[in-house]
Symmetry: C2
Subunit: 392 residues, 2 copies
């Protein structure tokens, strides 16, 4: 991408500029609440379900708000970064077209943004990608080029096409314009929650904290750039399966260091990539990110079930990882209890995307425990909270 | 229920009165659009998939709006009727408590409304009901009383409790106050669509027509009472499986006659009941209801999949029946093409509820056709519409 972009300051003002540029092309996605879920999150976990002994499970008071990027164009926040990246290209660059390698939401986002601008998009995908994703990307008018499935094979194809066409590479997360674009959701979120709080009994205080899921961390870092200097605490959420929590582990190292490669097959497939180089400069900055916490596959599934069945939000597993941290990560919950105190926190959670299928859901939940036995971890002994079902 | 209620006029003005009474207790549920689905509905079905030969499949132009009662309290529109019924009881009646027999959404709706009013609710449920539904109803503070599963057994238990306690029966659909309560969603729908249309290119015209699913038809008749005199066409939608389309068949009889009993195990389990006596007086009135159309189980599943995967709306099968009619019923589509003409229709579809589980979805879709083969009925040969995925 344009080298000039690399010098754009990573500030809240830059996120605002990005927002002004992409507003006409994206959805202002809704913010919703689900009283059942806020009440579950404000109930201590049963001590017996925790993996360690504790005298008293944390008891935070969490009033949760969901930012529904599953309702964003292409079904994920990725549309924001793609539209912003294109808005920053020169006419000359646009004429050469754009290229990326991705088999996920970024591919569709870039394809849509390119079509909207009348620009040619080349998307390099492994030939083993699922037919529906190939069809979706082609459906946005992109030219899909197949490659082998290793990083080297993909990059060779990208390089060849760049040489042939001069197409500009738009990476999925490791670029300032992508990070700033994704961060725009935070500006909307902040304003929407402030408005909602002004109208009800919680007072006019807005967001106290936000949890966002992190893979390459383009979005998490964008959110932190937008909010941290404005007094909102930002937390990251990762799956822990097979080392997918590379940011948490990298921050825990002495000295902290970016982990460059991860091989995980977590069900949160949008979060399998390790953190990018530029996003790492933000997420490793203690003034920007208060902490990064991880959750198990089972916890992600439980959170996903609650979002589907209780909040009636259609989400992909990656989109449920933030809620899983709020519900199940005791370290996070202790911080929230201690700092939120009596009045508690207005906690924003980013629902990053909703691109899954009924077949995938069937596969995830088909061999689940029998009805009635589930949710045992979070529900009080009286079973009361399972029964609540007040959506919206 | 109070005999005086039986005389309340079934008019738009009565629906407005009901709305004023229940507004503080219910959610103003959102209205959403999904461009993918509107575009699919505006594409002719492939002639080869139709069960009859036709020279030209219908080609209506449908701009679809979804009224999301899956986001209503208790996850379904039933909260409206229950709150209205209770609002109409006298202090003396309320003191005696309320009773109903239901294992579905009406049970939870009445339990919630009763708890809100501080009134005792007895819910008679077959002892074979699923544990989660029993827990949910108890969770709202209702007293659950078990019965056998035949109608006679249930009614015997209701009668016994009524004799013991004097509790007032609140039926699920066959009562003016329930019908008027459910109809309140139509007033909101009308206003919300008018506002949305005022803001975009379709002009300031509001709803042209509404499709609502029908079981006992308390909601369909309420919607018709609210809208028909205001110039909005109202259509009913039924599953056809094992004769579940009792209204359509009853209207087709000569002379038209209400079918009193149906035994169907359609996947749209909220629509298994035959039409009620008072709702029938409305749905059989040609000035109120333009037509009632039915769809197959497969068509309901296809529509449900689109609502989940494309609109990202978490719906139960019953909630998808209205969309199934718009997408797949050629008789309806021919009317929409003929009467909508060049400018087409702004078509409202009521998403009645979202009370299902991931296990139920897994069961419904686990044995589906393989990815890539699906949606063959509605998608153009170029596969283009499958690929669109613009939510919200």
């Amino acid at each position: 991408m344009a080298e000039s972009s690399k010098n754009r300051p990573l500030t809240r003002a830059s996120v605002s500029e990005a927002h002004a540029l992409i507003k006409p092309f994206i959805h202002l996605t809704p913010v919703v609440q689900c009283s059942t879920i806020s009440s579950l999150a404000s109930t201590p976990q049963s001590a017996s379900t925790l993996p360690f002994s504790t005298s008293r499970p944390a008891h935070p008071k969490l009033n949760i708000f969901f930012k529904c990027e599953n309702l964003q164009k292409v079904g994920a926040f990725k549309a924001r970064g793609a539209f912003h990246a294109l808005a920053r290209l020169t006419e000359e660059e646009l004429a050469r077209g754009v290229i990326t390698h991705s088999s996920g939401n970024h591919a569709q986002a870039l394809a849509l943004a390119a079509r909207t601008k009348g620009v040619k998009a080349h998307i390099v995908m492994p030939s083993i990608s699922t037919p529906s994703k190939i069809a979706a990307t082609k459906g946005y008018g992109a030219e899909v080029v197949f490659s082998g499935s290793t990083a080297a094979e993909r990059e060779a194809v990208v390089e060849r096409i760049q040489k042939e066409t001069g197409a500009v590479l738009v990476p999925p997360y490791d670029h300032p314009d992508i990070m700033l674009g994704q961060g725009t959701l935070a500006l909307e979120f902040e304003e929407q929650v402030a408005e909602m709080c002004g109208q009800n009994e919680t007072g006019s205080r807005g967001l106290d904290a936000v949890i966002a899921p992190a893979g390459g961390a383009g979005m998490l870092s964008g959110v932190a750039i937008a909010l941290a200097d404005n007094g909102v605490m930002v937390f990251g959420a990762e799956p822990e399966f097979e080392g997918a929590d590379d940011i948490r582990r990298g921050l825990a190292a002495d000295p902290p260091a970016r982990i460059e490669s991860v091989k995980t097959l977590t069900i949160a497939d949008g979060l399998r990539t390790p953190v990018g180089i530029i996003p790492w400069t933000i997420v490793s900055d203690k003034k920007k990110i208060r902490g990064v916490f991880s959750v198990t596959e089972e916890q992600i599934k439980n959170a996903m079930r609650l979002l589907l069945e209780r909040a009636k939000l259609f989400v992909e597993p990656s989109g449920a990882v933030g809620l899983a941290v709020a519900l199940y990560n005791e370290e996070f919950r202790r911080i929230a209890e201690r700092e939120g105190g009596e009045k508690g926190w207005n906690l924003g959670i980013v629902i990053s995307g909703g691109n899954t299928t009924v077949e995938a859901i069937a596969k995830l939940f088909a061999v689940e425990k029998k009805e009635g036995e589930r949710n045992a971890g979070i529900v009080g002994k009286d079973g009361k909270h399972v029964a609540e079902n007040v959506a919206g």
